[in-house]
């Protein structure tokens, strides 16, 4: 409180005069100026360059691993806006919000601009020559197995250089780590279909039953699936308008679009899948019948909380309308028995006869050295163990932020300190870069050369990433250039022909032009054509699906018993914008409201209204969410789209570093996760954390786009009427 301060009347007077002053002075340049600013003309312009007219260049999006092909509008040498590349097989001219924010990743004010060397708690700048020779010095006398390279998912020629570099160092320790990845589903697919990522034909299915696969939001290749989904929803296709049923404990964007959203007790997705197999009745393979014989509708209903008639109706629907497509996503795989859940769901697909119809074989990959290496959590765990045992002397890190994304229980930050020399390739000073001894600043994705092959491929192709403009900061380098420079330290003879990564890339592509459809073409013409398209088709023989989902070895545990001390299940949610938090410092993404809650610039705790009423929580209450491994506090948001036994918090917020927009915005849910892992793949079971929530005492106004009554439309009565699920007659609906 201000004592003896102005009274209200005086305050208003000052405010009034101050306002007048501001109004009179105006802001900035409000009338024509003469001779103040300079206008800089071109010295030697390209023929196509006309000031104020944009030119489009194709490239590849690096915002997520879907690898969409994009085009950037470039005007007067600056990239202004990104669009989808119409020639793309993946996104066909469309693009998502995360991709649009790519320009902000490029123009971000918090990018690292100089190589930094740790000096106590500070970083001091050094030249690139010194930085690279320092790495060389530190590697001398270190054995191969004491060196490790941590990356996100990698593919293309950067992967080739990376592997060659590790090979030159005599190291086999490449750890590919993605904090949020469908690795359990990959393993289950590998078993059931013989490939990790079969081609999914949402557009051919008459019914899609998705067990928590958020294919419209954040799952695998959302822009591609959204387009397939649009086809799926068209009434005029031969199959008729498709029906989407989404089964998950926490509503995702896909769930919000579904015809029927079925909340399920967390972790019982596999049981429901077998319940549907059981309810299908006659005409299915004997082993499936045997595996599912105990899963009667009543029992499954008791375990999963899904009404028995809904299970039976769902089975009828699937029988009536074939082909269908059953998907397993994050909600089903994030458990200790996640692999079993995914296997049960794959079995359902097999039983329904969808394999070969809506689950197709991808083309066989050629050029194995550039095919994607996907990441998972198991890699991080084994890296963490090696570090804990002090086995590593030098660690490189590129495209991963494990200090932020690892649960506290892994003690990764402490273990990292046991590595004497850590080099981080960084765009921003994120949590991992702050732990580094040497930080190498990277070019943004709009300044750098590269190639990539996305994990989910429609047609086999190599996407080219090319600079859309010159470097903003002279002392950043492309990751390929850095790796090439490091390789030259070890294998100078082999790489001396390549002046930089560009010449290496050009050489590698042009050398294989015959295989890439450019047989007999002039080198320059072929290369220019490739750059102009920014993608080139790879040869690919038609693949086939091997393997078979079987009921053998399928054992599903009973639903988890309630833990008295921690009665609620925490379901961390992956949003389309935030993903694993790698883009939390892009203000557009912070500002774009979460599709379901419309909250901006903060974390929140989604609680079912019934659960909240029991606990006496209302919207805006600050609550503490405590697990066995830590606690976070955030604002409560009451949301009917969640199972009453669960709460949900978004991932990606709560950075301690990484720039002005990320730091301190929201809380980091990764930290409090229990270290429970999927038994087969070793993936972190992200939904296996039990928590308790308690009010802390404060209450805030939740900053969100929707109105105070949760979507009442400007005071009008609600359009959508809530109907409790036991009153819904599905047979009349679809």
């Amino acid at each position: 409180m201000i004592e003896n301060g102005f009274n209200r009347r005086d305050f208003l007077k000052v405010l009034g005069w101050g306002g007048t002053a501001v109004a009179l002075s105006g802001c900035g340049n409000t009338s024509i100026e003469n001779g103040k600013e300079t206008v800089v003309s071109y010295v030697e312009p390209e023929d196509y360059a006309i000031p104020s007219i944009g030119v489009y260049f194709n490239s590849t999006c690096a915002q997520c691993d879907a690898g969409c092909n994009i085009e950037g509008r470039v005007r007067e040498g600056r990239v202004l806006k990104l669009e989808g590349n119409p020639g793309s097989f993946i996104n066909r001219g469309k693009m998502c919000g995360l991709g649009q924010a790519g320009v902000q990743a490029h123009y971000n004010p918090d990018r690292v601009r100089e190589p930094l060397l740790r000096n106590g708690s500070q970083g001091e700048t050094l030249t690139w020559d010194k930085a690279l020779s320092l790495i060389n010095d530190k590697l001398n006398g270190v054995k191969g197995e004491e060196i490790a390279f941590l990356t996100g998912g990698v593919s293309g020629h950067v992967k080739v250089l990376l592997n060659n570099y590790l090979d030159a160092l005599g190291s086999k320790n490449h750890y590919a780590y993605e904090a949020v990845s469908p690795s359990v589903v990959r393993a289950a697919n590998k078993k059931a279909y013989g490939v990790e990522m079969p081609r999914l034909r949402l557009d051919k299915a008459k019914v899609i039953v998705s067990f928590g696969a958020d294919f419209l939001g954040a799952w695998v290749s959302p822009v591609h699936f959204s387009q397939q989904y649009a086809q799926f929803r068209k009434g005029n296709r031969p199959e008729g308008r498709g029906v989407l049923v989404q089964i998950e404990s926490k509503m995702t964007l896909t769930g919000a679009n579904a015809d029927r959203w079925i909340p399920i007790r967390p972790g019982t997705e596999g049981i429901l899948a077998l319940g549907i197999v059981n309810a299908l009745g006659a005409g299915i393979p004997a082993d499936a019948v045997a595996a599912a014989k105990d899963y009667t509708a009543d029992r499954v209903s008791k375990d999963t909380g899904v009404p028995a008639e809904q299970i039976i109706r769902l089975a009828e629907l699937l029988k009536e309308r074939s082909p269908s497509l059953v998907l397993a996503g994050a909600a089903a795989e994030g458990y200790a028995h996640g692999s079993q859940n995914a296997a049960a769901i794959a079995l359902l697909n097999q039983v329904l006869g969808n394999v070969g119809k809506t689950v197709e074989a991808p083309a066989n990959a050629q050029f194995a050295q550039i095919t994607p290496t996907t990441g998972n959590r198991a890699a991080l765990r084994s890296l963490n163990d090696s570090m804990a045992q002090g086995k590593l002397k030098v660690l490189f890190s590129y495209g991963a932020n494990p200090v932020y994304t690892a649960p506290d229980a892994l003690k990764l930050q402490d273990n990292l300190k046991k590595v004497p020399f850590k080099v981080v390739f960084a765009h921003y000073l994120d949590e991992t870069a702050l732990e580094a001894d040497l930080v190498l600043p990277l070019d943004s994705a709009l300044e750098d050369w590269g190639t990539s092959i996305p994990e989910y491929q429609v047609e086999p192709h190599l996407s080219i990433q090319q600079p859309l403009m010159e470097r903003l900061y002279p002392n950043t380098r492309g990751v390929g250039d850095i790796l090439l420079a490091l390789l030259k330290q070890r294998r100078a003879d082999e790489y001396k022909a390549y002046e930089d990564f560009y010449s290496y890339l050009r050489g590698a592509v042009v050398q294989n032009k015959a295989a890439l459809g450019g047989a007999g073409a002039d080198d320059d013409a072929f290369w220019n054509e490739t750059l102009s398209n920014a993608l080139v088709k790879l040869p690919g023989a038609a693949g086939s699906l091997s393997g078979k989902a079987s009921a053998v070895g399928l054992t599903l545990p009973a639903p988890a018993a309630e833990v008295v001390a921690y009665p609620l299940r925490l379901i961390p949610s992956v949003s389309a914008s935030m993903r694993d938090g790698r883009h939390a410092n892009l203000s557009w993404l912070q500002e774009s409201p979460d599709p379901l809650t419309t909250v901006v610039w903060d974390s929140w705790v989604e609680i079912h209204p019934k659960t909240a009423a029991k606990l006496g929580i209302v919207e805006g209450d600050i609550v503490e969410v405590a697990s066995q491994n830590g606690s976070v506090t955030s604002q409560a948001y009451l949301f009917p789209g969640i199972h009453p036994d669960a709460i949900s918090m978004p991932l990606g917020y709560g950075h301690e570093a990484m720039g002005r927009y990320a730091k301190g915005t929201g809380v980091n849910v990764f930290k409090i996760l229990d270290p429970v892992f999927d038994k087969e793949t070793g993936e972190l079971a992200i939904n296996e954390t039990n928590v308790r929530i308690s009010k802390v005492g404060n209450r805030v106004v939740v900053v969100k786009e929707e109105g105070p009554n949760g979507g009442s439309q400007l005071g009008r009565k609600k359009i959508a009427v809530k109907v409790s699920s036991d009153k819904v007659d599905l047979s009349k609906e679809v």
Binding site: K13, V14, S25, N29, T30, N34, E37, S41, P45
Partner: protein, 212 residues
């Protein structure tokens, strides 16, 4: 004490208001045509030499318009004006394109300076003479297309509506007020639709046309 403090804050507010208003007031009118201040450019570019009339017979008569020019079309150098929102300053290569073969002036101080920039491959930092506020979008292409190509007016006349009689100047100097009222004044006049038509129309008067 507090009363004194209040008074001083009020006075400070008033003075800053008046001060900032005065600082932002338009410059005094110098001519009826509202001539802008002379602007010093890195090279004193002679527009009259390039765009001026070419009639050697009139040279002796001082009452005749400035001559000795080359009558180069405005759009030869400001080539973007008919293609783009901005007229564009000609690229350095364009200057050199001609001047590398004009030996007679090769040693003159301005041309020497020009070649210094060219040898260093550095752009010349020209000063903007007609710098509209950022909330105004003026489109050169629309005006040049309308008046030069559709109505067939002489280029120097069309450009001169806003830029004045450039062919008589060395470096350009603002000749017209270029305020919103001045723009609107012309937009309200009826113009023939094209060179042959008897139909007339006036320029768009929507706010959104310029303020977007």
């Amino acid at each position: 004490m507090h009363r004194f403090l209040r008074l001083s804050i009020l006075l400070a507010g008033m003075f800053s208001a008046i001060g900032s208003y005065a600082a932002d007031a338009p410059p005094p009118l110098t001519t009826p045509d509202e001539l802008g201040p002379p602007i010093e450019q890195p090279i004193e570019f002679p527009h009259m030499r390039h765009a001026g009339l070419h009639n050697p017979a009139d040279d002796a008569d001082p009452s005749k318009p400035a001559t000795g020019g080359m009558e180069i079309n405005c759009m030869y150098c400001h080539t973007y004006a008919r293609r783009s929102m901005v007229a564009g300053i000609p690229p350095l290569r364009k200057c050199i394109g001609c001047h590398q073969s004009i030996e007679s002036v090769r040693e003159s101080p301005r041309i020497k300076k020009l070649f210094e920039y060219w040898d260093a491959k550095k752009a010349i930092p020209w000063k903007k003479v007609h710098d509209l506020p950022d909330f105004v979008r003026f489109n050169h292409e629309r005006h040049v297309q309308r008046f030069v190509f559709q109505q067939g007016r002489p280029v120097q006349e069309a450009c001169g509506y806003c830029h004045g009689d450039i062919k008589t100047m060395t470096v350009a100097r603002r000749q017209k007020p270029i305020t919103m009222g001045w723009c609107a004044e012309c937009h309200q006049k009826d113009h023939p639709v094209d060179a042959t038509s008897t139909k007339t129309t006036h320029g768009p008067n929507d706010c959104f046309t310029c303020h977007k």
